[in-house]
Symmetry: C2
Subunit: 223 residues, 2 copies
DNA sequence: ACTAAACAAACATCAGACCATTACACTGGC
DNA sequence: GCCAGTGTAATGGTCTGATGTTTGTTTAGT
């Protein structure tokens, strides 16, 4: 194995073993490179790789730290990869969403707070007939994120957020606008909010299944 | 933005725009670094980061290539991150698995081939009373992977594989062995195979829910 | 006590050298 | 003509050392 990959493994092991904890600061690059037995250049490659997947946080002029390692950090790394897979595979991604999002809504229905309901309603009010596609995408993003976060499971939220990255969303809403299907989609959002408010897990789940399937059906035709 | 991060973005954009396709070879490091306007060292950091998340494949003495970008490559990158999140958060991970795996089994029940059924049976026959924990983990890994792959959705398989990384599995089987719960777990595996063979999606789904919930219950007590 | 300048520590970047591996073309033998 | 072995060029892997930039801390002055 290359020295850089060894260094990646060693740093990872230091975190798994507990030698390094969330928030801890790593030794300076020079010192760490000597300890691990490689040059500073090679160590920097390892650190950069761990920074991209949000394991390390490098602060210039200060030092390098282990991130909080919260599940939400998984999103960024996953989104990066999902963004690159956008053609045929989009239907597979939707199949996973159609499993996860209704389940998330059902959980959310039992746990959602009045404040979260209010936030959902607020996102609806930012929309009218003149709203741009970009604003619709933004609304959609927040709407679905509010539901997944109401399910109170960071992993669930992270995976779902990554699977519905904004580049994918943008393409879909552009299509929905052309098909004049925006009204129907927004009406579905309203119905979902009402089901969540009544705590009707079963209805919320079914509504989400219908909601996602509708988009999936449109996509299947468009491709 | 730092030059290295710029380089990462530029390379990513080259892939999204189609300037670089799966399997394509990048220009040599020296040439690419001049084209992007940064030193070879800094470019190498960018390349290393993209290699870790399986976007690039670097072959020493040959060149650097864009990977196939298949969804299964998502697994490795995700596993790397999930491996680092192993304490309290394990229950959240199980909640996601309990949603996805029964759904995957239901889909698998309608699509599974006789060959895949035979492979599942074969994994059962490698096990007896004297089997070591390591071998049990290996069996479990293959068993669940066969089911997710029978669902014929690479994204579903990737996400599930990542969420049930082998480090997590190892801990659990060690616990099951101590609790003498190995027999019951293996019996559940057998029942799942039979449901899949009969194409009974509903039963397969329920069996998976029970199967995962049992482990989840044990975990909740153990923590 | 407060402020601002100086300092030190740490990461950012670069240039250039040399090593190790691989692919490929060439050559000789069959 | 075909194949195996060989050599070479191309390419990534690694190291060293220097310099720039940013940040946090200390210190001198008010």
């Amino acid at each position: 194995m290359a020295v850089t990959d060894e260094a990646i493994t060693k740093i990872k092991d230091m975190i798994i073993s507990g030698e390094l904890c969330a928030g801890d600061r790593l030794p300076p690059e020079k010192e760490l490179s000597e300890k691990l037995g490689l040059s500073r250049s090679s160590l920097r490659e390892a650190v950069k790789a761990l920074e991209i997947i949000r394991v390390l946080d490098v602060r210039r002029g200060d030092g390098t730290y282990v991130t909080s390692l919260e599940p939400k950090l998984l999103t960024e790394a996953m989104t990066f990869i999902v963004d690159l897979h956008q053609d045929e595979s989009i239907l597979d991604i939707f199949e996973v969403r159609r499993i996860l999002e209704p389940a998330a809504a059902a959980i959310a229905a039992t746990r959602i707070t009045p404040e979260q309901i209010a936030s959902l309603r607020a996102t609806m009010e930012t929309i009218d007939d003149a709203t741009s596609v970009e604003a619709l995408v933004e609304h959609d993003l927040i709407f679905h994120q509010l539901i997944t976060s109401a399910a109170d499971n960071s992993y669930l939220a992270s995976v779902l957020d990554a699977l519905s990255s904004s580049t994918v969303r943008a393409r879909i809403w552009r299509g929905l606008t052309q098909e004049k299907a925006v009204d129907r989609t927004l009406a579905e959002h309203t119905a979902i909010i009402e089901a969540l408010e009544r705590g009707d897990a079963d209805l919320a789940k079914s509504l989400l299944t219908v909601h996602i399937s509708a988009v999936e059906y449109w996509l299947r035709q468009a491709l």
